[in-house]
């Protein structure tokens, strides 16, 4: 019976023949699926946004936000996770972009995919800013003030009513409409982006397979790989539910803590008091964290136009045109050192300026301070990148610098080193000198050792025989199977408690935490199922 039903569907919905990219075994790693994570966050945010839309009243923004939080059943769960869904989307979009930057995915034939991606990131930041304005608390109102002020000093004040309508009079209808319009645009661009990336060109082959642009599998070749249904579906489900799990757990757990002021922009999901309340006077206003870098760069000497050019226009334009500047066919980061260097600097500067904006908001910055903060990373990473000898690296290296964790570690060390330099320059103490020296040496060692290390690891893997590998794998699969059973058992009491959590009030956010944990479990189950059923002992990069 069950089989007949499933066959009936199988015949009608011919899942095996879906035209999506067929995926080789070795590509089932998050690094290759960051786009799916961004999409998962996007869909979560859209769904939660539509639920909020049932209750939000743009004529009484703050009031209705309060009503959603305090009166609507699980309203605060949905609202806070909407906010963190947007946060997740922003962070993942940045990670996705930088990853594609370092593997050279913007090169021929994927230029349009890349440009659409950059535009989507800009739209995401814009949509999030507008969403943030909808809360109508002091922070939102002052952020809109600052935004409108910046537009004004760029000579774009005619854009203010177009974007914000009658915002200052408390009518948020226009901002709500714009928020949704930008999101719809993101959705539209996403369709094109996905169509081109997945159906037209397919995912980028590993650099071992193809180290030059155009890096695509010929269609005939990709027919050999795994069809979308069911393997990609299962893998994708695991990614979606894991993402959704984190989006739900983090904000709903954070509401139970209070934070020092510097952590508020990142960690406090609750709205601030309304602008016309006495409490508002004591609130330190700050922009949403994803614009802190702009906020800090606005403290630079020079006109607003100059500052915004530095903070927004130059990076944006650079990212849009980079496929046309970097015309070499080489994909390896060390075969395009200048671009790799610029990419790393963009990452570092983004993080640095954001943190600086958080620590010293609105404090004017002198030219010498700018040099102190921004010059050392440039010099250090520059030296690091240009000193790595290509000859050594090129032998047998596959993933090298461009895999996200190593990249992150490298960035972290660089940042730590750079900030220790600043610290040293401001204190001029012996202790800080020691920090600089040690961090500096770690940096140098890391930069030098990073590549050969990755190389060695890969060699070891290949040395193991296939028989050995299958035995080990089978053992791991048994363990995975046991974990699947345990997780199932854990899920049941969680569901039972969820039925007892009150829909409003202090404890209601626990519902969000529990639902998030359920999603994590479900995602993990999909992931383990994928592992047991599909994982092969050797997944060579073909």
């Amino acid at each position: 019976m069950g089989n007949r039903v499933s066959n009936w569907f199988k015949e009608r919905i011919n899942m095996e023949d879906l035209p999506f990219f067929r995926t080789p075994d070795y590509m089932y790693h998050v690094g290759d699926w960051l786009g799916a994570l961004v999409a998962a966050a996007f869909f979560y945010t859209v769904i939660s946004g539509l639920i909020i839309l049932l209750y939000y009243d743009p004529a009484a923004g703050y009031q209705s936000t309060e009503t959603i939080i305090n009166k609507v059943p699980y309203g605060s769960v949905v609202l806070y996770s909407h906010l963190y869904g947007a946060y997740a989307m922003i962070i993942l979009a940045f990670v996705h972009m930088f990853r594609n930057y370092f593997v050279g995915a913007y090169k021929k034939p994927r230029e349009i995919v890349w440009i659409l991606g950059v535009l989507m990131l800009a739209l995401t930041l814009g949509a999030s800013f507008l969403g943030y304005s909808l809360i109508g608390d002091v922070l939102a109102v002052s952020a809109v003030d600052v935004g409108a002020g910046i537009l004004g000093s760029l000579g774009l004040s005619s854009l203010v009513p177009i974007l914000f309508g009658n915002y200052s009079a408390g009518d948020y209808t226009r901002v709500l409409a714009m928020h949704i319009i930008l999101v719809a645009l993101i959705g539209l661009l996403f369709l094109i982006h996905f169509f081109l990336a997945d159906l037209q060109y397919g995912m980028m082959p590993s650099r071992k397979v193809k180290d030059k642009a155009p890096a695509v599998y010929p269609k005939s070749e990709w027919q050999k790989f795994n069809p979308w249904w069911p393997r990609n579906f299962i893998y994708m489900m695991s990614l979606i539910f894991l993402t959704w799990g984190f989006i739900l757990i983090i904000p709903n757990a954070l509401v139970y803590f209070t934070f020092p002021q510097i952590a508020n922009p990142f960690l406090n999901p609750k709205p601030a008091p309304p602008p016309n309340s006495p409490a508002a006077a004591t609130v330190t206003t700050y922009p949403p964290w994803f614009f802190l870098f702009v906020y800090k760069i606005a403290d630079f000497p020079g006109s607003v136009l100059v500052d915004m050019t530095i903070a927004l226009f130059i990076p944006l334009i650079y990212l849009l045109v980079v496929p046309f500047i970097d015309r070499s066919p080489y994909l390896h980061p060390l075969k395009r050192r200048v671009f790799t260097w610029i990419g790393i600097l963009m990452m570092i500067y983004l993080i640095q300026s954001s943190l600086w904006g958080d620590l010293a908001p609105g404090v004017p910055v002198s030219m010498s301070e700018i040099l102190e903060v921004y010059l050392p990373p440039a010099i250090i990473t520059g030296l690091g990148i240009f000193l790595i000898p290509w000859e050594k690296v090129s032998k047998g290296l596959s993933k090298g610098m461009s895999n996200p964790p190593t990249m992150l570690a490298f960035t972290f060390v660089t940042l730590a080193f750079a900030s220790s330099m600043i610290y040293f320059l401001t204190t001029l103490s012996l202790a800080s000198l020691a920090t600089v020296i040690s961090l500096g040496s770690i940096f140098v060692i890391l930069a030098k050792l990073l590549t050969p290390y990755v190389m060695r690891a890969q060699q070891d893997e290949n040395a193991v025989s296939v028989e050995e590998a299958s035995k080990v794998l089978e053992k791991k699969k048994r363990i995975a199977q046991i974990i699947m059973i345990i997780l199932f058992i854990v899920a049941i009491p969680i569901v039972v408690t969820m039925w007892t959590i009150p829909p409003t009030g202090y404890y209601s956010n626990l519902f969000g935490v529990d639902l998030g944990v359920l999603f994590l479990i479900l995602g993990e189950e999909f992931s383990l199922y994928h592992y047991v059923v599909y994982k092969k002992p050797v997944e060579k990069e073909e």
């Binding site: 209705s64 009503t67 609507v72 949905v78 050999k224 199977q481 199932f488 519902f511 529990d514």
Partner: protein, 324 residues
């Protein structure tokens, strides 16, 4: 893995029991008309066809184990849905949590309880307070005659011209029974102060017709005040609606077709404090602007429209429309 056959050709243990089971299954699937093995395709497409065929129809991990895992997966998915179900309550709009009107103490703009006997008579300054919900503002008026002496405002019957319905206006409170409160949101299209406000007697004359907004009166308003013999009026500059504060804010001139709702006040003679305790008449604009006016002022308690309840205290805010 069936393809291990091909991958490790040098493997000695070819005939494992699982391999046998696999072969048996493969043969069965190949005979099944629904999943028939197409020899022609095999010849033309070669190994790739076989690879896909096996992958799609037989699968790597043996069937029993796979079904067991599928069972767990489906079990967890169902469990998750069971967890989402109570969350669907998010779709149920919250019930009005204000079961009735609160008793709310009226405070002055600096936060102290207002004293009824010190309330200025015929004040040109607009004094509004939110009640019963935070976005429902209301005038507080101490009515007097032409000479500024407080006058007693008697209870009366008010007519809603739109429907012909009638309701009872309770009259003024305070030491002189001269204090009243009405919604400050015009029943025509919802204009709020300073466009709608009280005009003390000295402004209710024909010279006010040429005054700038928001203090302009229409000729009809001045005439209507005269024929109704009232010294002062509430008038809305948006489209010229006029209300009679001495008679429950009944309609004097259109375009409005509904009186302003009355806020019922209570005066505590021992403390001289004023409390808002309820509302009568139609509900606050726009609750009945859809052409279905109701006599039920408790529609005002709809929090999704007007925000949260003010609770047990509400504060006055003041503006002077005539100063500018």
């Amino acid at each position: 893995m069936p393809l291990r056959f091909r991958l490790n050709g040098r493997d000695k243990q070819i005939l494992e029991s699982t391999d046998l089971a696999f072969l048996y299954k493969l043969v069965r699937v190949m005979k099944n008309p629904k999943t028939k093995f197409n020899e022609v395709d095999f010849v033309t497409k070669g190994e790739d066809y076989l690879f896909n065929y096996v992958n799609n129809n037989v699968g790597g991990v043996d069937e029993g184990r796979r079904n067991f895992l599928k069972g767990i997966l489906i079990g967890v998915a169902v469990t998750t849905v069971a967890g989402i179900v109570p969350g669907l309550r998010v779709l149920i709009p919250p019930v009005q949590s204000v079961s009735g009107f609160p008793k709310t103490l009226i405070l002055d703009s600096s936060g102290n309880p207002i004293k009824a006997s010190t309330l200025p008579v015929n004040s040109p300054i607009i004094m509004v307070f939110p009640y019963p919900l935070q976005n429902e503002i209301n005038f507080l008026l101490n009515l007097g005659d032409e000479n500024g002496n407080p006058v007693e405002v008697p209870p009366t019957t008010v007519v809603v011209p739109q429907t012909g319905d009638k309701y009872q206006f309770p009259g003024g409170v305070g030491p002189n029974k001269s204090i009243v409160a009405y919604s400050a949101i015009c029943q025509h299209l919802g204009c709020t102060p300073p466009y709608i406000h009280f005009y003390p007697p000295k402004y209710v004359n024909i010279s006010q017709v040429t005054a700038p907004e928001p203090n302009k009166l229409t000729v009809q308003a001045v005439q209507a005040a005269k024929s109704a013999k009232v010294p002062a009026i509430i008038h809305c500059d948006c489209h010229g609606s006029t209300y009679d504060p001495y008679h429950g804010a009944a309609v004097l001139t259109g375009p409005t077709v509904r009186p302003l709702p009355t806020i019922v006040l209570e005066w505590d003679s021992s403390t001289d404090y004023l409390y808002a305790i309820g509302a009568v008449g139609v509900p606050t604009y726009p609750m009945s602007s859809n052409g279905v006016p109701s006599n039920d002022p408790s529609a005002d308690l709809d929090e999704s429209q007007f925000g949260a309840s003010v609770g047990d205290k509400t504060e006055i805010s003041e503006t002077n429309p005539f100063s500018s």
